[in-house]
């Protein structure tokens, strides 16, 4: 609507003017919108550039996948690590492409062990103590630590991000450390045997009678040396577990008899502290499928802890029952001891950890017993857990699979 040049008087009607005004406003707002969009897209570009730079430059491998486990992105670090390029694997299922194994070579099931957990909102972590091994395109493997987290969009899980960190070096250092512990412990055994056996002969009077004082002093030396033997044994067990050379030989085992033997072995300490030990074993229990020697170590650890950390005149109750629905036997060891402080309960199965309250009361203790116990049970298809309240007591629960068909005879307690 071009105004005519020769017409100097009012060229438009009010309505037309009004319309023009509206058009102007509309134009301005469109321009403004365009400007905003451009600014926004500029901002977005910048953001994308930053994100890309971040993803490209971080040392850890990164895989993004959708809800179905289809790979939508991998960063250059991952490409280098696994030997696949982005183009080769985007669009593939992670299940078939980035194959993971466990320590002993068994395949990690993505669906069961990772995706189902992450898609339910959880986070999956594998680390140095329990790494995954990635099988490269060329079939070689390397250990990784990984974290898998869900991607949320408006409260809905739309996929997952998985990080890969090559921990070959850490693993080597860890192995060297463990091997050193193993070697050192072995070497310690010879001089310890020398101390023990010579002391033993002296105490037996094999080289002449000792005075009472000499006898007392020598007994202290002997006890100290015995403690050292236990420590060396514990360190060796731990190093064997860490090196994965711990061999479990499960066989049908009479759990009741095993428990009774261990109680007998602890009798001296139980009586010294005037602790009352009660046992209740369900009749006709089936045998369990377990490595007797290692299981003894577990029960011995839990019971000796109960004795050690229960004040004089306390009680310890041992109950063994069959849980038919799960076909497992459950041993419950309940004490009236010092208990485990709530704040430290999470760490109780950690290597070398000792709770503050017992560290103040007992100097003996390596902090290895429960770590060993947990590792053995975790590898025996069993479960080990506890409930505890400080200054009230602790109850340990130990469950192991029953060995079907065979039933133990009635046991006299």
């Amino acid at each position: 609507m071009k105004p005519r040049a020769d017409d100097t008087s009012q060229p438009y009607s009010d309505r037309e003017l009004q319309g023009l005004k509206e058009l102007k406003t509309a134009r301005a707002s469109i321009l403004k919108n365009l400007q905003d969009t451009e600014e926004e897209s500029q901002n977005n570009l910048q953001k994308t550039a930053i994100d890309e730079a971040v993803l490209e430059s971080i040392g850890d491998g990164l895989v993004v996948m959708d809800k179905l486990g289809i790979i939508t992105y991998v960063n250059p670090a991952l490409e280098r690590m696994v030997g696949w390029t982005l183009d080769e694997i985007v669009g593939n299922s992670i299940v078939d492409t980035l194959i993971l194994e466990k320590e002993k070579g068994e395949k990690v099931s993505y669906n069961e062990e990772i995706l189902s957990k992450v898609l339910a909102g959880g986070i999956v972590v594998a680390d140095l103590t329990n790494p995954f091994y990635h099988v490269r395109k060329d079939k070689s493997t390397f250990p990784i630590s990984t974290t898998v987290s869900p991607i949320l969009l408006a409260g809905e899980i739309i996929g997952a991000v998985m990080t890969f960190r090559d921990i070959t070096k850490e693993k080597e250092i860890d192995k060297a450390k463990t091997e050193f512990v193993s070697l050192a412990s072995h070497q310690l055994r010879t001089p310890l045997s020398t101390i023990n056996w010579y002391t033993e002969m002296l105490l037996a009077g094999d080289v002449g009678k000792l005075s009472d004082k000499q006898d007392t002093y020598l007994r202290e030396i002997y006890r100290g040396s015995q403690r050292m033997v236990s420590l060396v044994n514990a360190l060796l067990s731990v190093s064997r577990m860490d090196l994965g050379t711990f061999v479990l030989e499960p066989e049908p085992t009479d759990f009741v008899r095993l428990i009774q033997t261990i109680i007998r072995e602890q009798q001296f300490h139980i009586e010294r502290k005037k602790i009352i030990v009660t046992t209740s074993f369900q009749d006709s229990l089936p045998l369990i499928h377990a490595d007797g020697k290692l299981l003894s170590m577990v029960v011995q650890n839990i019971l000796s802890n109960a004795v050690k950390y229960t004040p004089d005149n306390g009680t310890i109750d041992l109950t063994l029952t069959l849980i038919p629905s799960a076909n497992t036997l459950r041993l419950k060891i309940k004490d009236t001891g010092y208990g485990i402080p709530l704040a430290q309960q999470e760490q109780i199965f950690t290597k070398l950890f000792r709770a503050d309250n017992v560290r103040e009361k007992e100097t003996e203790g390596t902090g290895l017993g429960l770590y060993i116990a947990k590792t053995i049970i975790d590898n025996s298809e069993g479960r080990l857990w506890f409930e505890s309240e400080e200054n009230k007591g602790t109850t340990f629960y130990l469950e192991l699979p029953a060995f079907s068909d065979q039933v133990t005879t009635k046991h006299k307690v």
């Binding site: 055994r189 010879t190 045997s193 020398t194 023990n196 056996w197 010579y198 033993e200 060796l236 030989e249």
Partner: protein
Amino acid sequence: MKKNLKETKTVLVVEDDQPLLAVIKMKLEKEGMHVITSRSVDRVFSIEIEKNAANKITMSSVELSLKHLNDLDRIDAVWLDHNLLGSENGLDFVIKFKDNGGHWEKIPIFVVSNTADPELVQKYAAAQVPNYYVKAEHTLESIVNDIKNVLLGEKK
């Protein structure tokens, strides 16, 4: 409770650590046993006659070798460490020893080692040596008693 052996029994102790070897010998002798010792596998089976400085065989070295031979023939039991001086270990000893056949095969061997490695225990068991002790976990007395009991049982 001391049980007495009717006749003197000979125990061969193969152990590389000098102080341990001494205390084992003492204890066994205390229990009335005759003890011969070696720190390596070679030494057990060596019947080489030592020569003096002038590279001549002497009467005493001949006697020593003969005595060793005689002792070897009288062995009733063996106390065996796994790690030994020289290149051979306890398992090598077992193979050589059993290789002699005859009564040698029946002589009881007690392995007393530093390691509790189940694989090693298995290997000895496979070589017909089921008596396996981890040094630091047993008293000298308990092992010596086990040896005595086996030697007594054999008499019946």
